[in-house]
């Protein structure tokens, strides 16, 4: 238990330090982008959050595989928490993305931004994960169904990415490219720090929520024993 508690504290501290330095770098160190202007600075949070959301879904799928394949104890709970955080990061991606679209192109939603559209599809998919999970009694059946659905999700990510790219041709091929401006040295460094900060935040929140859920599970066990 000692290592687990301290891992939580350590990861939280790491996340805090990285977040603080990322914000400091974004605010003071990195130059304002020449053509896009100040609003380009949203990019340093928007894209790292999106990449972290992918990491959450990937981690959730990995834990789901561990549950199905190796019957690893607790893997189902970890898969659920990872996907839960994935949806939260996904929501933030959509929000910051739409603010960025508003700032750069004057519209609150840009179908041309492949990244945003992909996230919308994944967001719909993973919200259905929770509808599935909460309509089955806790137990091995629920763990299996959730795990299989999580695996579907990780297959859906590349497929949807390809589909959206293919859809470009016949929906409305517009000129705005959305894969971000070319990054100079300092920009790239800030981007990496910000990404590391987001991943560390995921790690900290992941351990935090897991700790809470494990205590909750043990509490239920205790209550049943006393019943």
């Amino acid at each position: 238990m000692w290592l687990r508690n301290n891992a939580l504290a350590a990861s939280a501290a790491l996340a805090a330090v990285l977040l603080a330095s990322a914000i400091a770098l974004i605010a003071f160190y990195v130059p304002v982008d020449a053509d896009q202007g100040l609003s380009q600075k949203i990019f340093y949070f928007h894209v790292p959050i999106a990449l972290t959301a992918y990491a959450c879904f990937g981690w959730g799928a990995w834990k789901a595989l561990r549950h199905l394949w190796k019957r690893q104890e607790g893997a189902d709970l970890e898969s659920y928490v990872a996907i839960h955080l994935g949806v939260i990061f996904g929501a933030m991606t959509l929000l910051t993305g739409s603010i960025w679209a508003r700032a750069s192109w004057g519209v609150w939603w840009a179908w041309s931004s492949k990244q945003l559209v992909l996230f919308l599809v994944l967001f719909l998919f993973y919200c259905a994960y929770f509808m599935l999970r909460f309509s089955v009694e806790p137990g091995p059946r629920r763990a299996n169904l959730s795990a299989v659905y999580a695996l579907f999700g990780v297959v859906l990510i590349p497929i949807s990415f390809l589909a959206i790219r293919l859809a470009e041709d016949f929906i409305h091929p517009t000129v705005f490219t959305s894969n971000g401006p070319q990054m100079s040295g300092s920009m790239f460094f800030t981007f990496c720090v910000s990404w590391a900060a987001m991943l560390a935040t995921f790690g900290a929140l992941y351990r935090l929520e897991l700790a809470g859920k494990r205590i909750d599970a043990r509490m239920r066990e205790l209550r049943e024993l006393l019943a």
């Binding site: 914000i23 202007g37 100040l38 609003s39 600075k41 949203i42 949070f45 928007h46 959050i49 939260i88 929501a91 933030m92 929000l95 910051t96 603010i99 960025w100 508003r102 700032a103 935040t201 929140l205 935090l208 929520e209 809470g212 205590i215 909750d216 509490m219 205790l222 209550r223 006393l226």
Partner: protein
């Protein structure tokens, strides 16, 4: 504040608020856990 600054501030505020709401939810869950624990302790004590 130029419109650019407003949007940047809005974006970062949204991220900050989302994380804050998340932490608050986790905190309230922990409080409920604590209450459940004290209730259980009393039940054991009542069992004597």
């Amino acid at each position: 504040m130029t419109s650019g600054e407003k949007y940047v501030a809005a974006a970062y505020l949204v991220v900050f608020l989302t994380l804050l709401v998340y932490v608050v939810i986790i905190a309230s869950k922990l409080q409920r856990l604590e209450a459940a624990l004290t209730d259980l302790v009393e039940r054991v004590r009542a069992r004597g």
